[in-house]
Amino acid sequence: MSPEELQAAIAVANEINLEVYYYWCTAVMILIHAGFMMYEMGASRVKHTLAAGTKNILAFAYMIPTFWMFGWWIYLAMTNGFVPDFEAGAAGVPWGENMGPNMQDNASGVFWGAFTLFACTTASIMSGAVIERIRMTAFIILAVILGSVVWILAASWSWHYAGWMVTEWGYHDFGASGLVHMVSGFFALGVLIHLGPRIGKFNADGSANVIRGHSLPMTMVGLMLIVVGFFGFLGGCLIFPGTSVSWYATEWANIYGMPTTLSTICFNTLMGVAGGMIGAYMKTRDPFWMMSGALCGIISVASGMDLYYPGLTFVLAFVGGIVGPISAQLFEKFGIDDAVGAVSVHGTCGILGVLFAGIFLGGYPQFSDSIPTITFGGQFKGMIVMFLLGFVPGFVFGWLFKVLGILRASDGVQEVGMDVEVEAMAYPEDIKTN
């Protein structure tokens, strides 16, 4: 074999390895969705269980075709803001050469697949907050707006080497604390304001009642599945080396072109999960929040986890694990009934994640000298953009669906149980666990 032939063989092997890597990242990410489904079904009362699960599965099902139809195009075309770059977006049009089987393109399908699963995650984040009273159709449409439009617009601005938040502010959000978690958490908040609380959540004097789900063990297993899925999610945030779409021949890179390693992500994913669990357990001694603390922890460090010292990751995640449940109590005091604390876990801890990167990651060189370095100011401005990008569409569409009368199930349906709308019963024996 000549050196040229050997080089060509290595190049082919690298392309195939890239394909295999993202293919399995995508498969592992499906566990996030399975986990959220169990988490939400367990957090529902018996009479709402299957409605919560069905809602989650349908969000998954709707995200896939809609992300193929327009989501991926938005990512490629909208890096400048609200004005599309049709030339850049050409590779994402659903009737184009790259958006289907193509022997010369091993990358588009697996990148699209990984991003589709990111989109599914955003819908799952919202779905937990609104269980036990949102109507199915409204939820599906809201999920599509969030997953196939809103978050991917945020990703185009801030999770793309040419995104304007990156090129103008040096915004750094490796693991998507802002562009996935903040956007989804505050989108959910906008919807919740119009959706209103579950029947019986608040007393006439404004005090809140605890509404316990029917299966905390199911919720805990679900959250462990989400933790497993995070390895696919965060692994999928890296760019594979040595291929035609890679930043470097021999080094992994983050999405901004800064070199990193898979080992880095392993260190900090595990340390983030552990710090969050322990912090939340110390704050609450509650199994539900201990497990949600894993998410609080990982989200609180996700923006900068490609660069943090693992000891720092653990401490920041520990703080996130404490802040998450405190934030949930505060939202409840303001009359927001967030059934699983999604606004706090993803929104509030997402804010922490974005700002922590601004505080602790100064001085790192960027891929190009033309890109500003990471600063607190850049991260703070990015945090404001992510809040608005999530909250405003959630609030507006929540209002619209409320006006149309399709947002909230009637009190009668809630009393009978949302499962009546999916015409099924989770437990035919009609067991009562609470």
């Binding site: 608040f202 007393n203 009637s410 009190d411 349906v413």
Partner: protein, 69 residues
């Protein structure tokens, strides 16, 4: 039945999906869009049916939107 192949040979093949390069892909695209929208109509119809059947709480017809009386 349909001759949908965009290639004559696998040698140097690029795009290989069925009907590639023809306007027929547009047709399937729009059918796919319709397949996403139509189920929402049926879902809404089912919801409305159950909403009408269980419109009010058993103890009181006055909705309080979550505030326990």
């Amino acid at each position: 039945m349909f001759n949908s192949s965009p290639i004559d040979s696998w040698e140097g093949a690029g795009v290989i999906y069925s009907f590639a390069g023809s306007g027929i892909t547009d047709f399937w695209f729009w059918i796919a869009v319709i397949c996403c929208i139509v189920p929402l109509y049926f879902a809404l119809r089912t919801e409305n049916h159950h909403e009408n059947q269980h419109k009010f709480r058993s103890d009181d017809s006055d909705s309080t939107h979550g505030v326990e009386r």
